[in-house]
Symmetry: C2
């Protein structure tokens, strides 16, 4: 059991070093290809290479290609009993990730539309679902104790379970993508999630389903290796941006280990801040409240700090649903809301509904680095909470 | 046997229509992303979107993702005897192709170096080789009759066979890439090769190894569908360029069906023009003769025709090996060679060593469209030759 994990760990350490050395070498290529962005939250607005996630992603893929034979080492000489079912899981997992890297990079280069961002992860997860169908096809969900008198011990969700898994990939990729905009946050949160998954996997190695968790570690360890190297360059002040490529690639990796490792619900527990950010964003994402193109915080050059960014719109542009939501949010002090702005008092303003702005709302203007640290700290706290829910509480609800 | 092929054929027809409709819609995205080239062989030098091969490639992938369940239809209800070994072939094939698409697109965007062009296909073919090892691991080659007295009936090449297969992927991707430079040629030649493979597969469906050829058709048919739509836009005068993406993607598809379909030698027979072009190019590719950055023919705006392009260099820059080769080539009238050029007669000139220039050498200035037609005609003739070698002649050499 431990041998392939140790090999994976060592290779992941090497993948860190390779990524660390590769990124500075390829930076100029990205600038030359006009793949760069301006860092809006800085005094000096330099060109920062964009979509560098494709570099860490490709190195991740290469290391996993080289790693494939390791778990199957003892079948090298005698291939007659070869576990094709485990092998196909590995290959399908890589296919989904590779596909997502391709689509993410295409998105960074070509600026795809929103509907593609929902469609593409669904397509990329098809091979995974097929493998799941063939290898497990367990679509039964165990019901928590308090609900059992009504729905029974377990429910077979059938095809709905596949819809859920397909949506998982869409959710994971986009959830990371919308909690973004300040240096180091995308990679930072992904690393916290990956660490949480790795710790969970290590706990569960002693359990019945140890194989599934071993499988998950094969992917999470090199993911951590390559992403930590990426964070080094993406941390404040960013010398590279990671791009949608990274969010797509990360989201798919997490969804994939959750699906094939049979712990998708636990995996979602590590996404609490992303879920909160998503729910908080819903009024803007679904255009109940007007949504500007960018929702990142506003940079104040005088103080070198970030402030909440505001969305200003005509009061008449807001329908009853949007105004009700904003009023409820305002009652609970969840938004900054000013109703009569402008010369003729016809405008209103509220902060853009992101977790980042929410933190700024409570803390006041904050330096970018500090803000990133706070948000990552929240992510860590939520992971601790997730473990509390998963272990002590779950046994209350699920123990037979 | 026929049901999945008919489904595949129908889906390929649809994939043609989808590709045909998608390309005009996405053209502007590519221009905006500054992914374009100038057509050097035209009066008017417009911006032509580049790397459109990624569009046909992605549509190809999506259709194959949707097709995966079809060949395994009868296992849908009862998955206990599921043929994981066949399934993993399919998934690994898609992984290699997807990987190649990613790398090809990265090359088009970022302009990778030569060593990457050799390294990347090798890496992308690793999953294929692994599947080959697990599923077949037959590394024995049957020896042609005339040689049998010396080497015996067959030879086990062992690891060398894997090296050969890895190099096949490198060769196929680059061979198409260097026979390029005029409108429609990359896609045209690839389509002729794909058609030849499809015809060969149909012939062999009645043979013992029909499963392997059925498998090959699953990939070649949608490849033809998407590439024919691409040709429509890439044909003279090109409204899109296909980019390295397309060459990588095509080469990998061919190498993959050759490897997993067990007909890599026959597959190579369809590459005769590419092999000739490669051999003719060797003196320039390996810098025995100075090699300019571009070797495409020279456009004459006066006649609207293409002429041979010349490489001019100091006579002292040529070492004995280069000069010997050029002299031999010149004796057989295979090159245009002028030894004393320039004011002080210190320069010499020869045509760039490509099959395209070779055709121009024999025919004189030719219109681009005509030239493309001639080269594709050569490709067709060579495929007929290949079938002659494969069928009547091979039975002479191999029949026991």
């Amino acid at each position: 059991m431990w041998f392939p994990i140790i090999v994976s760990f060592s290779m992941s350490a090497i993948s860190y070093l390779v990524t660390e050395r590769t990124i500075p070498k390829v930076k100029d290529m990205f600038l030359k290809a006009s793949l760069f962005g301006m860092d809006l939250n800085k005094h000096k607005k330099d060109k920062v290479p964009e979509a560098i996630g494709v570099v860490s992603g490709c190195i991740f893929l290469i290391f996993l290609f080289l790693f494939i034979p390791v778990p199957f080492g003892r079948y090298i000489v005698e291939t007659s009993n070869f576990p094709h079912d485990e092998f196909v899981e590995m290959v399908a997992a890589l296919l989904s990730i590779c596909c997502m890297l391709l689509l993410g990079f295409a998105d960074d280069v070509l600026d795809l539309r929103w509907r593609h961002k929902l469609l593409l992860p669904t397509i990329a997860s098809l091979p995974l679902l097929m493998v799941y169908y063939v290898n497990f096809n367990s679509t039964t969900v165990i019901i928590p104790k308090p609900l059992r008198p009504w729905v029974g011990f377990s429910v077979n969700l059938g095809i709905l379970y596949y819809v859920y898994m397909g949506m998982l990939a869409v959710f994971c990729t986009n959830a990371i993508n919308i909690l973004a905009g300040i240096n180091g946050l995308e990679v930072g949160q992904s690393i916290v999630i990956a660490f949480s998954i790795a710790i969970f996997n290590f706990f569960e190695l002693s359990g019945e389903l140890w194989k599934a968790h071993q499988f998950s570690l094969y992917f999470i360890l090199p993911y951590l290796g390559t992403s930590l190297a990426l964070l080094k360059y993406n941390w404040y002040p960013s010398r590279v941006f990671v791009g949608d490529t990274f969010c797509y690639f990360s989201g798919m990796t997490f969804a994939m280990v959750g699906i094939l490792g049979h712990f998708s619900k636990t995996m979602l527990l590590f996404f609490i801040p992303q879920v909160i950010n998503f729910l908080y964003s819903v009024p803007q994402l679904f255009h109940m409240v007007p949504c500007p193109r960018h929702r990142i915080p506003r940079y104040s050059p005088k103080t070198d700090k970030l402030e909440i960014s505001l969305s200003t719109f005509k009061r008449t542009d807001l329908n009853w649903l949007g105004s009700t939501i904003l009023k409820i949010f305002s009652t609970f002090k969840l938004v900054h809301l000013k109703e009569y702005v402008g010369e003729n008092k016809e405008y209103m303003e509220c902060n853009n509904l992101t977790l980042i702005n929410f933190v700024l709302l409570w803390r006041g203007p904050t330096h970018e680095k500090k803000l990133s640290q706070i948000l990552l700290f929240i992510q860590v706290i939520c992971s601790v909470l997730a473990f509390t829910i998963r272990y002590p509480l779950a046994s209350l609800f699920y123990n037979v």
